[in-house]
């Protein structure tokens, strides 16, 4: 699809109206570039047809990494490197002393799964401390919802009519900033 340097910002002030508008716009086969909301709107991703997140799968794999790290680490330290007799615990093989290692195996699994998942989330959604905010309208952090639709050769009029019918309280055509 050809990219244009203009986008339409349709602003709504109710999430139900927004949901209905998304469905209308999708039905007319317009591409929705982005939607800005002040809070999660239940079912919005489905209405927009976004692909489901795969972050849970990533977390599962990170958990497996954590479990492996814990096992290899303790096997090396406690069994292979220096199998000392500590209070009569059997250090002959990993399995024999395993119950004592389980708390650490568990915690490291959770630690890796949780932290790496959060970091993945930050990376994938491009969030970091000195990131410049990408907010087209500050009201969307308070009580307004904004739908951004790119304008392609002269369908501006048609889009404008459609969006005003869906109950948008404000429709602006702006130059694309990103």
């Amino acid at each position: 699809m050809e990219t244009s340097d203009k986008v339409i910002h349709a602003i709504y002030n109710d999430d139900d109206v927004l949901m209905a508008a998304v469905k209308t716009v999708k039905a007319k086969r317009f591409h929705i570039e982005e939607i800005y909301t002040p809070f999660p709107v239940h079912g919005l991703d489905k209405a927009m047809g976004l692909a489901p997140t795969r972050i849970a799968i990533a977390a599962f794999m990170y958990g497996c990494v954590g479990l492996t790290v814990a096992t290899i680490m303790m096997n090396f330290i406690m069994i292979e490197d220096w199998p000392q007799n500590i209070g009569g615990k059997p250090s002959f093989s990993y399995l024999e002393n395993m119950p004592a290692f389980v708390p650490i195996m568990f915690e490291l699994t959770v630690f890796f799964a949780a932290h790496l998942m959060v970091i993945t989330f930050y990376l994938r959604s491009r969030m970091w401390p000195f990131k410049k905010a990408e907010n087209p309208d500050p009201r969307t952090t308070d009580d307004h919802f904004l739908m951004e639709i790119p304008v392609n050769h002269g369908n501006e009029r048609e889009l404008h009519d459609l969006l005003s019918k869906t109950g948008a309280v404000e429709i602006n055509v702006v130059n694309n900033t990103h």
């Binding site: 849970a56 599962f60 009569g88 119950p99 004592a100 389980v102």
Partner: protein, 464 residues
């Protein structure tokens, strides 16, 4: 939606009960071996000999007092049952002692198998009753469509629990204390540790406590069912509020009695052993099984088109509970095991020593079935909505928890003479038949969808 039990299901239940009863009878007859028969049997498999000696010491020999007690009581039995080997109260030679030990273990086996199966099905309906009370007390909005299914399952509780208690009592009165060794006055007379516990562990105390527990559970079940049906025809929510109140009260009663029940009915098979979180451990097992059976029966009825409003989100929630309670069970299992293994105090650790030595496969196998299987099968959100996937995970969970109960009872009663053979399977079939018969008969007694439950609308539109 009105449900009518199909003839095929009723017939299946009856066949299960008949086949099971025959198998149980066969088990009792077959296990009734005399001293000589056991002696010949042991001679034929001589390689077993050393193992039994060891196991006998493992099981009974941690305290000198106890070992003596057993020697004496076994000598007593020998006197009663076989005069040619009569040695009275004098020191019994090792061989006679050993053969006697094995013989008693074999006599205990059909009793224990019957008891394990009875307890397993009782625990399913008790777990469901607790789950049911939680749904009311927490005013859950997703579950009211399933309340009638739960009420059907809890119909088994009263007969099932009475049967468990009856088997326990009969094992004393006609079975020569086949399940609970502390019921044997001969053993107690020679055992200082049990003597110290007779204030709690005495036959009549056991029976009366059991009746009190059962009465409390059955009363709650009776009234909650009554109010639940009355609510369908009422024009206000008075009945619902009453159920809410008695559910909260029942949950308090339940958590005390469930804990004491698990000491009485399970932990006391090893009267020298004790564990503080045992009640919780048993509770976690019964909740998993209960939720699994709710899911099974819901899927069955839904498959017949009798629960039209139940959707895959309800199933998803049940599967989440199966998953979460499986992990909770594992957490408690491990907490109990690891604390005892780590500190390795002889008086506590024998419990696990006998289980790991004589029950290696069931002991660790059930861990795989109750933890690793549900963990991997039910982790994926999509799989929790696929009926055959839940059935697959549920079957593994139920078999795993049967083995869990098996592992709690058998090592104390039959020791290394265990086998999952005719008595065990027949007992399971018998109680499975009885369970199906009672539960599905109870399901026909009321409409399957509670019509005036204040949360039923929310439940019908439940969507995750």
């Amino acid at each position: 939606m009105e449900y009518k039990i199909s003839n095929r299901l009723r017939l299946t239940a009856i066949i299960l009960m008949v086949v099971g009863a025959l198998g149980v009878g066969f088990g009792f007859i077959n296990s009734n071996k005399s001293f000589e028969e056991v002696e010949t049997m042991l001679a034929n498999e001589s390689h077993h000999g050393g193992g039994h000696g060891e196991a006998a010491t493992q099981e009974h020999g941690e305290h000198h007092v106890e070992a003596t007690a057993h020697g004496a009581s076994e000598a007593d039995h020998a006197t009663k049952q076989d005069n040619s080997h009569d040695s009275g109260h004098e020191v019994v030679d090792e061989h006679t002692k050993h053969v006697n030990h094995v013989m008693h273990a074999m006599h205990n086996r059909p009793w224990s198998a019957f008891y394990v199966a009875a307890f397993f099905f009782m625990m399913i309906s008790l777990g469901v009753l607790a789950f049911y009370a939680i749904q009311y007390a927490s005013q859950a909005g997703w579950s009211p469509l399933l309340l009638r299914v739960m009420e059907g399952i809890t119909a088994y509780l009263l007969p099932g629990a009475l049967i468990v208690l009856l088997i326990a009592a009969l094992s004393h009165f006609i079975g020569h204390n086949s399940i609970f060794v502390w019921m044997d006055p001969d053993v107690v007379a020679h055992d200082k540790l049990i003597q110290g516990k007779t204030g709690w562990l005495n036959v009549w105390g056991f029976i009366i406590r059991g009746l009190v527990f059962i009465a409390g559970w059955a009363l709650y079940r009776h009234f909650s069912r009554k109010f639940s049906i009355a609510q369908d025809k009422a024009d206000d929510n008075k009945n619902f509020k009453k159920t809410f109140r008695i559910s909260a009260a029942f949950l308090v009663f339940f958590i005390y009695t469930e804990s004491m029940m698990s000491w009485d009915w399970i932990m006391s098979v090893d009267p020298h052993w004790f564990s503080t979180l045992f009640g919780w451990y048993v509770f976690a097992g019964m909740m998993v099984c209960g939720v699994t059976v709710i899911a099974f029966i819901t899927m069955y009825l839904k498959g017949k088109g009798l629960l039209p409003h139940v959707n895959d989100s309800h199933l998803h929630d049940l599967a989440k509970f199966m998953f979460a309670f499986s992990i909770f069970w594992t957490y408690l299992w491990f907490s109990q095991f690891m604390l005892i293994w780590y500190s390795n105090i002889p008086e506590e650790v024998t419990y696990f020593v006998t289980r790991i030595e004589d029950y290696k496969l069931p002991f660790f196998g059930m861990l795989a079935m109750n933890f690793i299987f549900p963990l991997l099968l039910l982790m994926n959100s999509d799989y929790k909505r696929v009926p055959w996937f839940i059935v697959m995970a549920g079957v593994v969970i139920l078999v795993g928890h049967y083995i869990d109960v098996f592992n709690m009872i058998m090592p104390a009663t039959v020791g290394d003479q265990w086998y999952i053979g005719v008595p065990e399977i027949a007992s399971m079939l018998f109680f499975a038949g009885l369970f199906i018969f009672i539960v599905f008969t109870a399901l026909t007694k009321a409409p399957l969808t509670p019509s005036r439950n204040p949360f039923v609308k929310e439940s019908e539109h439940f969507h995750y």
